[in-house]
Structures are given as C-alpha cells and as structure tokens.
Amino acid sequence: MDLVPWRNKRRRGDRDTGEHPLARLRDEMESVFERFFGNPWGTGRSPLLSPTAAFPQLDLTESDSDLTIRAELPGLRLEDVKLEVSGNCLRITGEKSAEREDQGRDYHYSERQFGAFSRTVQLPAAADPNKVDATYKDGVLTVKIAKHPDAKPKRIKVRNA
C-alpha cells in the first residue's frame, strides 16, 4: 500500500534554466502567485480558493422542502461543534481535539486531522434561517434548513384568453 501522501509534483516554476535571469525571476514570481491563488488551468491546488482545500468538506443538496448540508467529522464531541446563522450565512465552527493528550506515545502513523475548523455557507434566499435542524450520527454532521413555504415551486395555470 502506498503510504506516502499523494501530491502533485508538477509546478510551472520548475523550468529549465538557461533563460535570461529576469525572465526566470518573472516566471518564479508568476508561479508563486499561481501556487497561492490558484491557477484555473494549472495542476496545483490553491490553499485559499479551492473548495477542496477547506475542511470539513461539505455536500450540499436540495429537495423540494429543504436544503441539506453534510460534513464528515469523525470523532467529534457534540459540545465541540457550533452552528451559527447570521443573515444568510451558516457558519460551522468547531474544534476536533485530539485524543492524544499524551504526546509521549509512539506514533507509527498519524494521518487523521485534528484542530480547529470553520466553514461558512451562503444560504440561498429560499432557505429559512429560523428553521435549522442539525444532527450528528456515525461521524456525519447533517444540517437541514427548511425552505420558505413561498419558495417552493408553484404551478401557474395558463388559461386561454
């Protein structure tokens, strides 16, 4: 089994030398910005703008009556997660505290994520921020937000004039 974390090694800045030093500097600067802010055509992932870099990762689905947000947060204690609705933003914050108080223990593998996290989701206008229900089961946090009754699709009859 491959235990080395997968990582994309290609960077646009890693070019052959031999160009003019200024050209090389320019390339280097470009690649720094690309790596930081993300390049839509490049291979690197941006730590700031790419949704996949955020933790926890979210699934957002919509049904006729509600919106559902699901996040995988294994090993969380209920008191460590906080949900806030302000305006049309839903904020999920929390801290996954490690069970590893005893730092002296001998770690062979350490892949699981710990620490503070925060995600903010902008709710569509149809969502009713007063009707939010959140549950946590088997390590999956589910947040259901009801839609305004008047946001549900309405059928409009076309009549003969």
Binding site: Q57, L60, E72, P74, R100, R112, Q113, D138, G139
Partner: protein, 131 residues
C-alpha cells in the same frame, strides 16, 4: 498541513473485483504503540458497527467499512466536495501481534482497534540490582 491531506483518498490500487459498485476510499489512520498493545484509529465516517468487517489472514489485517449512500440516486446537488463509499485498507501485521485477541469498537465514525502485543514482543523492563 498539506492541502492534499484534507481530501479523501480514493483507492486506486489493483484490487480484486468487488461485489459492491462505487468508489472505495482509504481511511486515514493513526497507529500508536503503547507498552502492551498497538492502537489503530481509523476515520470511517458514516459506517455502522454492523457494516464493519475486520479480517486477519496470513499476517494481513484488512479493514472494510461499508458506507451506504446518503442520498437517493436522483439528487439535486448544489455542492459535492467529497465522495461517499466504502472504506478499505490492508495492513501487514508482524508476528509481534497476538491476532487472537484483536478487539475493535466504533464510535462516532472512528474505528478503534486494539492489537495486543504477543508476550514475546512486549517491552520488558529489567531492574538493575546493586550488589
């Protein structure tokens, strides 16, 4: 913290044909060595105790956690940042583990395995006497 570590890893190695379709993911694990046992903790969000299968065969320990889809086939996705599927991972376990006494529990999506060390592999402290 590297950004790629935050993503769920999809199993891509050559695996025998599976009876369940869908992607398989590699759970993130911590393995801690303690005086009398190895402690393995694996993140398997969405898995229930009855869907977890642990097999030990010829020095290989295989964890399989069945995770059912949380959405019906016809779903209106607004954002889909992660995939949902079974977790599978295999470890080589040396002679130092007493396979007969391996124990497992699952709580809040974290699977914990206790792998007791075989008597011969335990660290022994030898007291030094003064004469």
């Amino acid at each position: 913290m590297s950004d790629t570590a935050l993503e769920k890893r999809v199993m891509t190695t050559d695996q025998p044909e599976r009876t369940r379709s869908g992607r398989t993911y590699i759970p993130a694990v911590d393995i801690v060595e303690k005086d009398d046992e190895l402690l393995l903790m694996a993140d398997v969000p969405g898995a229930k105790a009855e869907g977890i299968d642990i097999q030990y065969e010829r020095g290989e320990l295989t964890l399989t956690a069945r995770v059912d889809s949380r959405q019906p086939e016809q779903t209106n996705w607004l954002a889909c940042e992660y995939g949902v599927g079974d977790f599978v991972r295999t470890f080589q376990v040396g002679e130092g583990v007493d396979a007969a006494r391996i124990e497992a529990e699952v709580s809040n999506g974290v699977l914990t395995l206790h792998l007791p060390k075989a008597e011969a592999a335990k660290t022994r402290k030898i007291a030094v006497k003064t004469t």
